[in-house]
Structure formats: C-alpha cells, structure tokens
Symmetry: C2
C-alpha cells in the first residue's frame, strides 16, 4: 500500500495554511513548535516538512526569526487535481511529442562521439530486453534520456526528468504499462527506436525529429487503438 508519512501531512497542512489564511509573500508562518502542536505531531516532523517546502522554493527559514513565505504554492499541479487516467495519458503524449521531437533534433545536430556511444549502448540494451519479451521500461527510459543528454542542454535534461516523474506518477496510479505485447509490436518498437538512433548517428536533425514523432505516435496507438 502507499504508506503516508507524517511529514507529508505536515507539508500539505502548511500549504493549506498559506492558502486559507491567505499568507502573502514575505509573511511569517507560525513557529515550528506552534505548527507541531497545531498538527498534533512532533517538531521533528514539522521541520522535515519545512525543509522540503524550502527546497521547493515556497518558504525560507531565517535563523532566530522564523520561516517566511517566499512563493505562494497556489494552484500548482498536485494531488487535488484528479484527472481521468486516459486523459492524463493523452496529455502526457502531447508533452512528450513536443519535447522529445525537438530533443531528437538537437541531439542529432550536436551529439559528441561519446554521447553517440551511450545512445548505441542504450539501444542495444533496449533491443535485447524487448527481444527477451521481458519488461523494457527501464531500458526505454534510459535510451530516451540519453538522447536528451546529447542535446548538451541541461535544462532539456532536467525537463525530461521532470516530465518522466509526472508521467510515472500518473501511470503508476492506473493500468500497468508493461503488459505482454504481441511479437509484431516488439519488432515495430525496435524498428522505431532504430530509426531515431540512425538519424542521430547521421546527424540529420529533421529526420530525427520526424522519427521520434512517428515513434511516439505509434506508441500512443499501441496503448489506445
């Protein structure tokens, strides 16, 4: 089961506090001790939540003074936005189509020899994993991430990580994606990936973008025909 830690409740509680009490940027929120007794938990746990809030850029702790609102967490995508799984999956393909196609193009244009090697290795792993009819989710992700890294743009890479986390979170709540596939689909998946890798090897940006679009489109059709 999906155990919930106390710090999660504290985190949500503080976010709610900021919103309902309408704390503005710069406002001080209650002391750790006060929050602890408000939520009925120890100061240790409240501190853990505050550390994460600060890490997320929402609050800032000033020693001896208190914790202050740095950015309001208003309507960010969170657990309170329950989407249908199907719509969410569709939505994820929209974002992937945009980001991954352009990443493939940049990767083709800029890849170094070392990065090409990493991509080839990831492709090999994916091929063997698919041919073994086992779960290939990790290998697939590694290949796509290698392509993002070949863009030589750290923001692209971090965007991939973020997108991947979000999609994972949605899919994990829904149907298992690593179900059994017919052999025809396996060969198709290998071929689609190879088209992308070939284009990157040939440093043909347009072809890489096109192949990636094709691959994602086929994947979407495979999931919901």
């Amino acid at each position: 089961m999906h155990e919930e830690r106390l710090a999660d409740r504290a985190y949500a509680g503080i976010v709610e506090l900021i919103n309902t009490d309408d704390l503005q940027i710069g406002d001080r929120l209650p002391s750790e001790t006060r929050l602890a007794e408000m939520f009925g938990m120890s100061r240790t746990v409240v501190r853990e939540a505050l550390v994460r809030l600060a890490s997320d850029g929402f609050t800032e702790a000033r020693r001896g003074a208190g914790s202050f609102v740095k950015r309001r967490p208003s309507e960010r995508l969170g657990s309170h936005l329950p989407m249908q799984n199907l719509a969410a999956t569709m939505g994820s393909y929209e974002v992937r189509l945009v980001l991954e196609a352009e990443a493939a193009r940049l990767a083709a244009q800029r890849r170094s020899a070392e990065q090409m090697l990493v991509i080839e290795r990831a492709m090999d792993s994916l091929r063997t994993a698919l041919q073994a009819s086992g779960p290939a989710h990790v290998e697939d992700m590694e290949l796509h991430r290698a392509i993002f890294e070949a863009t030589a743009n750290p923001i692209f890479v971090s965007s991939f990580d973020h997108m991947h986390d979000e999609i994972d979170r949605i899919l994990r709540a829904g149907v298992d994606i690593s179900r059994s596939r017919p052999p025809a689909a396996i060969n198709a998946m290998i071929e689609e990936h190879e088209l992308v890798v070939d284009a990157i090897r040939a440093q043909d940006g347009d072809a890489a973008a096109l192949a990636m679009r094709w691959h994602l489109w086929q994947g979407r059709k495979r999931l919901m025909p």
Copy 2:
C-alpha cells in the same frame, strides 16, 4: 553573509559520496547513523540532507531498508555544474521556444471562455506594469502561466512550473533581468504579447504558436543582441 548550515555540507558530502564511490542507480547508501559519524554531525542533520536529496529526486528512502540512489546527481544541472550564464540562458530559450509555442497553439485551440478571461486580465496587468516602467517579471510570468493553464493539460502546466524554476535558478545566480528598458522595447514587448493573446482569442493555433516563437526570439535578441 551567506551562513552555511550543516545540512548543506551533509548534502554536498552525500552527493560527493555517490560520485566518488561510484554508487549506481539502485545502490544503497550508508545508513543515517553511519553517515552521521562519517561527517561528524548528528543524525538529525543527515536526515535533513537526505530529505532534500529525496525531494530533488536523487535518492529514495525505504523505511526499514535504507536510502537508495534513484538518479545520479552528476549529470543533472546543479550548483556543482558551473555553466556560463550566457550558455545557460541560451539553453533556456531553446526549451521555452519548444514548450511555449506548442502551449500557445493548444491554448488557442482549447481555451474556455473563463480561461480567456484570465489571460486577458493577466495581459492587462502586464501592460500597466510595463507602461509604469517598473519590474514586470511577475506579471510576465503570470501571463505565460495562464496560457499554459489554458491548454487544459496539467502536465504542460507542471512542465512550465519546472522550467520556470530552473530558469529562475540560473538567472538568479547571474545578472538581474529586471534592468531598465528603453521605451521602444517596452512597446515592443507589449505588442508581442498582444499578438499572442489575439491569436488565442481568435482560436488560431498556428498564429498563436508563430506569435509566441516571434516573441521569445525577440526577447532573446533583447537580452543578448
């Protein structure tokens, strides 16, 4: 000055540990007690660092088992990767160009009447802020975010938030972006935004995407002519 907390040293120490000891994804790192005596600090502080590492997606704590490497921090954009600010800014424009153009297209195609109203209001705020020659960074961000929200795709919205965080983090380390602007640039910025909003109002996806590309391109030229 910039007081250093012990947890910062612990955070850096663990990152270094992962890199130098070459811990791979899935590997377990030393227990909190062990790390505490390694770094010569209390377990509480080590826990604080681990919470932040988990929040950043580098590690994952499994109760009763230990903390495990989830993604290696080496290749991620971070404090230990001092990029030239110029290159980073260029990189951010690449990502924005891709994401925002497509977001504008989807927003134009799908916007509801309510969402259009939010966009109009954001546009008004931005216009007055720019005409007052004050800092308009917040208003600009609000408008762009409203456009992402009009896509009706939560993953697009969360990608925007993430991208914005990353870019902010880079720009904050560099030159202040809200410097004084010549009046001609102010009018140009207003006009560019209005072109985007007009296209969304007219529900013309291609025009919206094009206008957004144009706006971002002009912005890039304004920053580094």
